[in-house]
């Protein structure tokens, strides 16, 4: 879908057009409320930011992201702005600090227009689990945009924003990117500070950008990446000097994951698209290498055990004690907890907290959690081994295109299986990106995923740029 506001380059060259573009972006979001993309629009705050950016430009400051109008997923904290995580339990809690990633983007000149809808606490693959209603696919509002970062995906895909932040724990940015036909990049674990991202699966989470193309995604990443003293897991690895992406300098060695391109769950259109991508890469002179990831098929159980275990602990702080909602019926501290949490959390969140608590509980810890951690190491090592012989790995991003709202809600296992291709990158901590390839017969977008080695986002996105160049109809 086309960008409906002026491009960042236009706005950078003509900063006086910024206020109008910001107003336009907000108006578009408002006019399309039925798509459920935003939980809160920040008109006043965006106006202030706009003024500040323009003043800094006038003073001659270099702002790498001047002209960027962005949205932020509502599990990422912005000081004094209500934070909901798509949940009733936070009760529009006004955040007490701003996430480092957002601070850096704003310092680079980006303007935030609002907080986007999401599956509650980032738990879901369809944005149907939000207490604020579902988000809807911009091309077909009977369909899901994907999740958990559905709202952010819509804001970019519908053309109202240049980029948006989501979070990716098991595919929550790549999958909606694929469903909506935009770029969704999950950086290497530790590349972007998690300070201010409401934790779901702490060893898996990364704040991840959506954008219209690889170049913009790289620009956004560049502005927010780098070690942060507030996040002990953020990596002290240099952010690449180069701020502007280019096509790969050499021909690529592309690993094609045997178990994935032929996966039984693959919809025919996606299977066909995978073959097209392979052919296009070969024709362009790149080398395709078949690789095998035998343990990767266990990524789903491993992911769900580890992620829910961490989540059950991360969500323990939502207790009606210091912020958010407290049940009025509570008579003692235990019932404060139990009732507030019982009513404040939606069913998917409750289910995952139960799963996580169970796998960590005495008697089950070894069989589930510890075993999952061991298999996780095997998956990581397998991926590292194949990436040692290739530049990037290629897989479909999702087994199907965007499904209908309500289609998978009653079958949690089926819903979890849609993460089959995306979870391995989170388990290993590798960077991965979904690139839109083309649409299927019904006009629904199909995305292809590339994975690269640790901190190799530049190569990853160059390869992505190559896919953009090779895609049909361009």
């Amino acid at each position: 879908m086309p960008l409906l506001i002026p491009s960042p380059e236009t706005l950078r060259r003509n900063p006086e057009k910024l206020p109008e573009a910001v107003a336009q972006s907000l108006a578009l979001a408002r006019a399309n409320r039925h798509l459920g993309a935003f939980i809160e629009l920040l008109d006043e705050r965006a106006g202030v930011s706009c003024g500040e950016v323009m003043a800094r430009i006038r003073k001659g400051e270099e702002l790498p992201l001047a002209g960027f109008i962005i949205a932020v997923k509502d599990n990422i904290s912005i000081k004094d702005v209500p934070l909901t995580c798509g949940s009733r339990i936070l009760d529009h809690h006004p955040a007490t600090f701003t996430a480092t990633a957002v601070e850096r983007l704003e310092r680079a000149g980006a303007i935030v227009i609002g907080k986007t809808n999401l599956d509650e606490f980032a738990m879901g693959s369809s944005n149907e689990n939000s207490s604020f209603g579902p988000a809807r696919h911009p091309l077909d509002d009977t369909r899901v945009p994907g999740g958990s970062s559905g709202g952010s995906a819509v804001s970019v895909a519908a053309g109202w924003c240049h980029a948006a932040l989501g979070s990716d724990t098991g595919g929550s940015v790549r999958q909606p990117a694929a469903f909506c036909g935009i770029v969704g990049l999950k950086p290497t674990y530790g590349r972007v500070s998690r300070y201010g991202l409401v934790a779901f699966g702490s060893s898996l989470d990364q704040i991840s950008p959506f954008a219209h193309d690889c170049t913009s995604a790289f620009e956004v990443l560049h502005a927010m990446a780098g070690a942060d003293s507030h996040d002990a897991t953020s990596a002290h690895v240099k952010v690449p000097e180069c701020e502007v992406l280019s096509l790969p300098k050499n021909k690529l060695r592309v690993g094609v994951v045997r178990e994935f391109v032929d996966h039984e769950a693959l919809a025919p259109s996606i299977r066909a698209a995978s073959r097209e991508v392979c052919d296009a890469l070969t024709s362009a002179g790149h080398t395709l290498v078949e690789v095998s990831l035998p343990t990767a098929k266990l990524a789903i159980p491993v992911y769900y055990i580890v992620a829910t275990a961490e989540a059950s602990s991360n969500l323990a702080r939502f207790d009606g004690a210091r912020y958010g909602k407290r049940s009025a019926d509570a008579t003692d501290v235990n019932s404060v907890l139990e009732l507030s949490r019982g009513i404040g959390f939606g069913p998917e969140v409750r289910r995952r907290i139960m799963m996580g608590t169970y796998v960590l509980s005495a008697g089950y810890f070894d069989a589930y959690y510890r075993t999952a951690q061991k298999v996780r190491r095997l998956i990581k090592e397998e991926l590292q081994a194949v990436l040692a012989q290739t530049d990037v790995l290629l897989t479909p991003t999702t087994p199907s295109t965007a499904f209908r709202i309500g289609e998978k809600v009653d079958d949690p296992v089926a819903m979890y299986l849609s993460d089959i291709f995306t979870t391995p990158a989170n388990l290993a901590g590798l960077p991965a990106v979904s690139i839109p390839w083309r649409s299927d017969e019904s006009g629904l977008p199909i995305g292809m995923q590339l994975m690269a080695n640790y901190f190799d986002e530049e190569l990853l996105l160059s390869a992505g740029m190559e896919l953009e160049r090779l895609r049909p109809g361009v």
């Binding site: 530790g190 501290v333 069989a367």
Partner: protein, 94 residues
């Protein structure tokens, strides 16, 4: 691996979730399906494999013992569901 209803209740207690009977039944069903699916992990040979807790091998990340600016109390207590002038307040802690 089969979860009994009383185990489900115990887990709900550990997680401080007060659930209705209907929810407990539904969860019992869901969790059994989910864990039935997860049991395929048992087939993997994990002898001599170390559990993985962190994907990067960073160690010793520490900060210097220098004080920062604290949150003003008004902000800290701003969103408290119940408070006094100076404290977070609860019904009786037993």
């Amino acid at each position: 691996m089969s979860l009994t209803r009383s185990e489900v209740e115990h887990v709900a207690k550990l997680a401080r979730l007060r659930l209705s009977d209907a929810e407990l039944s539904s969860l019992e069903k869901d969790l059994n399906a989910i864990f039935g699916y997860f049991d395929q992990l048992r087939a993997v040979d994990v002898t001599n494999v170390e559990p993985l807790a962190h994907v990067l091998d960073a160690v010793n990340v520490m900060d210097d013992d220098v004080p920062h600016e604290c949150l003003p109390r008004e902000i800290a207590l701003r969103d408290a569901p119940d408070r006094t002038e100076e404290y977070f307040r609860f019904p009786r802690i037993l």
